[in-house]
Amino acid sequence: MQRIGVFVCHCGSNIAATVDVSKVAEMALMEPGVVHAEDYQYMCSEAGQAKIAAAIQEKNLTGMVVCSCSPRMHEATFRKAAERAGLNPYMVEIANIREHCSWIHKDVEEATKKAVILMRAAIAKVNLNAPLQPGESRVTKRALVIGGGIAGIQTAIDIADAGYEVDIVEKTPSIGGRMSQLDKTFPTLDCSACILTPKMVEASAHEKINIYTYSEVEKVSGFVGDFTVDIRKKARSVDMDKCTGCGVCQEKCPSKKAPSEFNRGLNTRSAIYTPFAQAIPNVPVIDREACIKFKTGKCGLCAKVCQAGAVDYEQKDEIVTEKYGAIVVATGFDTIKLDQYDEYAYSQSKDVITSLELERVMNAAGPTHGHLERLSDGKAPKEIVFIQCVGSRCSDDRGKPYCSKICCMYTAKHAMLIRDKYPDVNVTVFYIDVRTPGKNFDEFYRRAVEQYGVNYIKGQVGKVIPQPNGKLLVQGSDLLDNKQILKEADMVVLATAIEPNPDVRKIATMLTASIDTNNFLTEAHAKLRPVESPTAGIFLSGVCQGPKDIPETVAQAGAAAVKAIGLLAKDKLLTNPCTAQSDILLCNGCSTCENVCPYGAITYEDKEVNDHGIRETRRIAVVNSALCQGCGACTVACPSGAMDLQGFSNRQIIAEVDAICR
């Protein structure tokens, strides 16, 4: 028989206001095995933990139940407290009477009753708990960063500076990401390239950083400290070692009709290309879909003009397998597709563009060489309308329910830059709210209005109608004046919602990292663990976790790096002892469990057994507890019940079921 102590936490008034905590403690004493029960204001506090320690020692407890907040919150705290007092940490169970009880119920009697039942279930479980010892696993001192934008670059530099090897895997031919496409950055109006390029160079020159561009993560296995990752290096068709980056091939390439990804399809590029002048590595790739040589077998001009002999049409995709201790996801974002927003005439008029396209138009390296002009006829616009929240804050299925966060600021930036450079152009911004929380942000927006005379109108645009004269008729509302506005514009710029890079879902599945309904990766705790995924060893950097601007991204990138460094600095990790075990006398050796194990943790061995006097050799399942992650798939696949999960055994769960249904 166990000697169980029950500790009921008030959590200030969080629990005590709805649950009669002293009643719960009193009821605990009536349960089998319970020899001690008390309630206290804050069990997780130092004083609370001291009470637990005292009870463990004085009453010689063999198990304990804490009725408190979610085990996801403080299970680790109480386990540590138990361990310090000499009790095996796995003899601790939590009854979640806060999140699952006091916070969602109002009636004191009802909530108290439920709390008692939850406590009984936990006591019933502890009665069947057995002390467990965690194992150890090694840590590979190398990190993988998925995504080579500003978030990935910053994380990689920070990890590498701490002395650990880092690999960056970037899908496109160059690192740099979205930031490399921007012209200027708010709120200081630095030139984006001027601040990003040095970071790119630093990453590529860093002796601890290895960059795989034009590559994708193909497969991930293993677990925290010991991931094995297959990286597909897509065939570049250009030898990275031989290429000097002279650029002659790109000049001579006769196929120049492929839309430029870097310029958002506003102009074209050659089939052999580097995305932009400052690309790192400065080695082109051949777009095999656009290349004449690959399409028809003829041409081959690039190979002829390449003095270094770097062009290699025979190159094949290559799979590199590497081990990592930590993985940082920095997959960034894209703007949403506007197919469903016919009312803004995006697909009907070349002069309706997204803000990211405007960045390219304003940039000296862009399709118009930095001249503000209409893409339809090249004329200078006189009247520009900005529309905010296009696809953001939408609860229908056309857009995204969240605020994209960066649009208010970049629109103010665009408006200001246009008014500064072209004072004769009128700029109107239709907004729902102007959101400028951030250092110097509101001041920045006010400058756009007060100093640069940008016309802000509170109200959304209902429709943009292309006119026969080439103008765009904008129909919007001015809610403050209670007027409907009709305005002829030369250009319309849409502050298009951003969404996580569509590839992130595939990556999250490989990493078994959880993802929310908007495809943003979920953090382990919204407030206290914002850069960690709930999956151990996976960290989050940048917009893949939620919309953010550059300063926030860089800050989070550094935070993710620190968390990864904290992991890599350890030599050994303690493994979860809640693993599966096979009962040698019950195992049929049927291989069913092996077939459902996602980790390949189950193997079979011929073992001598003594089954009540019958000695024979049997085929028995053996669990490698270093590989087992404790999901329990095998335990249900096993018909005889030979396979059981420590810490969540069949009898423990059944005891909980019985206690709840009692």
């Binding site: 006398l585 077939n595 024979e616 018909p639 005889s640 019940g641 069949n650 009898r651 005891a655």
Partner: protein, 324 residues
């Protein structure tokens, strides 16, 4: 039958096998029982007739542990079970010399008795070589007759086919007996109202005396120790104390063999209470076929079983309420 005995003697004589697993005559003309034969003399008791319904593949679990090979007589449907046992590493293919025996449909003595035939002394037409469509039954009340097809086990009317899935040699001819769809009965129950379904199963299952015959005969139910006998689930009990326990046992038993059951029909054949236990297994087979694609357990030894497999697009459990 003689051909089988002759071959068995040869195999014993040349040392190919150490024993023969077949049937010997029982105390009544219609209840032959599984038996081992180790010498030519013992084979005098060997029988193989239309009452030899027992599936011998499960006996091979123990026989695999013995010295030397065992000659085992397997009917076409038994070979599915044997394959399934190979797949689950329960039998050793190398320890078995499989003689695939012919089958023209096995008989159900209960069906004959239900026709009011009592005091049976002998039955003519049940020998494997007989071509007769009618059984001649000598009883203490005189001769009675019964159409062969009318006396056949339910499972033979929905036979999977007379092809052996695994064998070393074949002896004897078979005759197709399939004349019904095996899911008809299940579909009929599915079409009932919940009240009717419940009443039907309540009535059938309340007959259960927990003798465990179904479990002991089932080749898929071959755990060294059944969960209902172990303490692992706090579920060990030898008798049904209430109607819940009857249901629990049979649902779990069917669930444990789901995707592994070859639909050999032994459970229903051996049930002393005549409970149509195959209706549970066949329900799972029908669901598996319908939801995850046709699957015949024991047709091979390598395919992934439905419950250890999945696809991303699998039906959601809510489909249960949505189907017609």
């Amino acid at each position: 039958m003689q051909e089988l005995i002759n071959r068995a003697k040869e195999l014993l004589a040349d040392g190919t096998v150490a024993r023969v697993l077949g049937w010997k005559g029982g105390d009544l003309p219609y209840n032959p029982e599984p038996a081992y034969f180790e010498t030519a003399e013992e084979l005098a008791d060997f029988v193989y007739n239309s009452f030899c319904g027992a599936n011998l593949s499960k006996y091979m679990i123990e026989a695999s542990k013995l010295e030397g090979k065992t000659m085992v007589c397997l009917k076409p449907c038994d070979t599915y079970s044997f394959n399934q046992l190979i797949k689950e590493h329960r039998v050793d293919r190398e320890k078995a010399y499989i003689v695939g025996v012919g089958c023209k449909g096995k008989l159900d003595i209960e069906k004959i008795k239900k026709k009011g035939v009592k005091g049976i002394e002998s039955i003519e037409g049940a020998e494997i070589t007989d071509e007769a469509d009618t059984l001649k039954i000598q009883t203490i009340y005189g001769e009675k007759s019964c159409a062969y097809a009318d006396a056949m086990l339910e499972r033979c009317h929905v036979c999977k086919g007379k092809e052996h899935m695994v064998y070393d040699e074949l002896i004897g001819d078979s005759k197709e007996t399939k004349d019904a769809d095996r899911f008809d009965e299940v579909a009929r129950i599915e079409a009932m109202s919940p009240e009717e379904k419940f009443a039907f199963f309540q009535k059938e299952l309340s007959k259960c005396i927990r003798c465990n015959a179904c479990r002991n005969a089932c080749p898929a139910c071959s755990c060294r120790k059944c969960v209902f006998d172990s303490t692992k689930f706090d579920s060990s009990q030898k008798a049904n104390v209430d109607s819940f326990e009857e249901k629990m046992f049979h649902i779990i038993r069917a669930f444990h063999v789901a995707g592994r059951c070859t639909d050999c029909g032994e459970c229903s054949r051996v049930c002393p209470q005549g409970i149509p236990l195959h209706l549970f297994n066949r329900k799972f087979i029908k669901d598996i076929d319908g939801l995850y694609g046709e699957y015949q357990a024991g047709a091979d030894t390598t395919s992934k079983a439905p419950l250890t497999n999945y696809t991303f697009e699998d039906a959601e459990p809510s489909i249960v309420g949505k189907r017609g």
